[in-house]
């Protein structure tokens, strides 16, 4: 550690090097503490206690907000192994994650890079791309119901193209239901994340690209050889975000398919919602919360490992 990496208050110049180091460490810790304390306190007050509560309730059988709780230890978790719906939920969630992330992140990154080139019209495009994120749940439900209905816009569009044989009951056909919902996430996710990537890429100095272009590199090269390596951490963060939002997401299932038909769109997030709000098995739903929690931790650690290894490249 060189001296330039520490915060050196000018007043301390007269001490010996050792004392210097110790005093500095403490001073740093003190500043750290004061800067971090408000946020930490806020966070712990509202999140930590409820988180502990979630673990606590997951060991209970609790069938209604006003009914008594009964301690059943790890029974809720043992139930995971006997509950066929958990396997289905995990399978559906897994598919959703795989397709949802692969479908969004690469394209979003490329689009974000394109935006960061600031070609004419990029501001308009950026606003348009961000629009899906600004639409409320009510609006999205309306749009996609109108799209996926048997007599809706998608089928009509296919008819116009002469592809009426491809008409489906998109949301109620077991083979198309899940992918219809994933498509919504991809549709919104590409736009939203591309704006995020733009914001990150926009902070890179222009000279970086100019130097490469002088050497004759094209945009595609620059994107993957220059921008991408610099953005690996951020890409990791964005991937984590997307992952977590899909993992615990249930909005489209609630609004459009109710987890059906059968169990075609039954995901982990929806199962949690179902057990908590619809079937009133609060203990079991919290156990699912715990499950989601641990899956999330594993994934965050994994993605962090991958990106730190990649960025050492």
């Amino acid at each position: 550690m060189t001296t330039s990496e520490k915060l050196i208050p000018l007043k301390e110049k007269t001490f010996s090097n050792e004392e210097y180091g110790r005093r500095n460490a403490r001073r740093r810790r003190v500043s750290f503490f004061f800067l971090v304390a408000p946020a930490l306190v806020w966070f712990l007050a509202f999140m930590l206690w409820p988180l502990l509560n979630m673990f606590y309730i997951s060991t209970m059988r609790w069938d209604g907000l006003n009914l008594p709780k009964k301690f059943i230890f790890l029974d809720n978790f043992i139930k995971f192994f006997h509950d066929p719906k958990i396997a289905i939920a995990l399978h559906n969630t897994g598919t959703y994650l795989l397709v949802g992330i692969i479908g969004v992140i690469p394209l979003a990154f490329m689009l974000g890079f394109f935006l960061s080139l600031r070609k004419p019209g990029y501001r308009v495009l950026r606003t348009i791309f961000f629009t899906p994120a600004m639409l409320s749940v009510a609006a999205l439900a309306m749009i996609f119901l109108g799209l996926y209905r048997p007599d809706g816009m998608l089928n009509s569009f296919l008819n116009v193209l002469g592809l009426s044989s491809l008409n489906q009951v998109w949301l109620m056909n077991k083979s198309t239901a899940l992918f219809s919902l994933i498509a919504i996430d991809i549709w919104g996710g590409i736009g939203f994340n591309s704006v995020l990537f733009f914001a990150a890429l926009a902070s890179l100095p222009e000279e970086l690209y100019e130097a490469a272009m002088l050497d004759g590199a094209g945009y595609w090269t620059i994107m993957w050889k220059i921008a991408f390596p610099l953005m690996i951490d951020f890409i990791g963060v964005v991937t984590i975000l997307q992952f977590l939002s899909i993992l615990s997401g249930a909005a489209y299932m609630i609004l459009l398919t109710g987890g059906g038909p059968g169990t075609a769109t039954f995901t982990l997030g929806y199962y949690l919602y179902d057990q908590a709000f619809l079937s009133h098995r609060l203990g079991y739903s919290q156990a699912m919360g715990v499950l989601i929690f641990f899956i999330g931790i594993v994934v965050i650690v994994l993605i962090r490992r991958i990106t730190s290894r990649l960025s050492r490249y």
């Binding site: 907000l65 009951v169 949301l171 079937s279 009133h280």
Partner: protein, 423 residues
């Protein structure tokens, strides 16, 4: 962001927040009775309900009646949460469905048995209404108020175009389907296979083959080995495979089904009393005749069947309401006066839960008037006895049932599994 903008924003925020404090909050003063309901401006009952509340306020200046509108499906959660912190309203208008039946046990609502007798209301209510708000051990959980019928709507014009009348049996229905399809039209019945409304049609068809007791045992108790229950499912599948439902029915939702029927192209749909005044139905309302769903051969019923129930809304008294029971008593007695209920019946086509309501026939919605005289048999709606925990699975199973290719065996197996899972 420079300091000026920062401080201006903070200042504005503080001002705005003060304004909001002034606007929000509950007024204090004489006894306050708060009601949570969902009969807002977009509901047919809004005008009549508002007039009742205003008249009550005028007649009771010492009671501060506050009414707040919330989304119907949010109200149970809000009430349950509020009770834990003693913040619940005195009265709650919500359905006698699912979890509401646990409310007396869990302390969210108080039983009204004693109040019925003490306030002299015991004889005023229809027995069928009270029974739908009674638990197995006789506890009455709320005052029933909103009754509804849920008939089948027949577009006579469409049927006449192929020379047919209204089908009364499933054989006639299948014949009608074949005739209509041969004439290039779609199947006679449009339903919302994609959501809960279609599920009720599914139930209705099942119940057309069963007695009420058998329905209770299967839809309520999860016994799907009962022969008539199996027959009900098989009837449904047979009708579906015979093309009785419109194509793509499994993907149609509530609004879509209504729109479809409103175009006048489809012969039948399954809609409740709340839709009588809907704009979407207006174009075909004159051609509509209401009735029950055709019954299969060998059915224990004599006539086509339909749902009629009071599970839509009951007035629940909460612990906070119990603390202000005198004011609550005045309100309950006021609203259940026949003249008051008559307003709701006349303007909104609501089925009254009390007897002897003086209604001006000329004011009634014509479709509603039909329900009073139609030749059909009532079957008991499952709202009262279907366990709350199984309703979402049941919904998903009916969605699948509407899709072509789902066999009766699969449906029955799924149903048995769903009910077994909640034990």
């Amino acid at each position: 962001m420079n300091k000026k903008i920062f401080s201006i924003t903070i200042a504005m925020l503080m001002i705005a927040s003060l304004l909001l404090t002034a606007c929000g909050g509950k007024p204090s003063g004489p006894v306050t009775v708060t009601i949570w309901h969902n009969w807002g401006p977009d509901d047919a009952k809004y005008t009549a309900f508002k007039s009742i509340l205003d008249d009550f306020r005028a007649a009771n200046p010492d009671i501060n009646l506050v009414d707040e509108v919330y989304v119907d499906s949010d109200i149970p959660l809000k009430v349950e949460t509020a009770v834990t912190a003693n913040q619940e309203p005195e009265l709650v208008f919500t359905g006698g469905i699912g979890n509401a039946f646990t409310w007396v046990d869990s302390g969210v609502a108080v039983a009204v048995n004693d109040y019925l007798t003490e306030w002299g209301l015991a004889d005023k209510f229809l027995d069928s209404a009270i029974s739908q708000y009674s638990t197995a051990d006789g506890t009455i959980i709320a005052f029933p108020i909103e009754g509804f019928s849920w008939p089948i709507w027949y577009n006579t014009k469409v049927l006449e175009s192929v020379g047919l009348g209204i089908p009364k049996t499933t054989d006639e229905l299948i014949a009608a389907a074949q005739a209509l399809r041969a004439a290039g039209k779609d199947g006679p019945v449009v339903a919302s296979g994609a959501d809960g409304m279609g599920g009720k049609l599914f139930e209705l068809i099942l119940q057309s083959a069963m007695t009420d007791a058998e329905a209770k045992a299967s839809l309520g108790g999860g016994d799907w080995t009962i022969p008539n229950a199996i027959k009900g499912v098989e009837t449904f599948v047979a009708l579906r495979d015979a093309g009785v439902f419109v194509d793509g029915v499994e993907g149609i939702d509530y609004g879509g089904a209504e729109a479809r029927f409103g175009t006048g192209e489809v012969a039948m749909c399954h809609y409740g009393a709340w839709a009588f005044a809907d704009d979407a139905m207006k174009p075909v309302a004159a051609d509509v005749q209401l009735g029950g769903f055709p019954i299969p051969a060998g059915s224990p019923h004599q006539l086509p069947v339909y749902f009629k129930a009071f599970s839509a809304k009951g007035i629940f008294i909460t612990p906070n309401g119990q603390a202000k029971i005198d004011a609550v008593e005045k309100f309950i007695k006021f609203i259940f006066q026949p003249e008051m209920i008559a307003r709701l019946v006349e303007s909104a086509g609501m089925n009254p839960s009390i007897k002897d309501v003086p209604v001006d026939e000329s004011k009634l919605n014509p479709l509603f008037a039909q329900t009073l005289t139609m030749e059909a048999e009532v079957v008991f709606i499952s709202d009262t006895y279907m366990p709350g925990a199984v309703t979402t699975d049941f919904g998903r199973i009916t969605q699948e049932a509407f899709a072509p290719g789902t066999t009766a065996e699969k449906i029955l197996a799924d149903l048995a599994a769903a009910y077994a899972a909640i034990k």
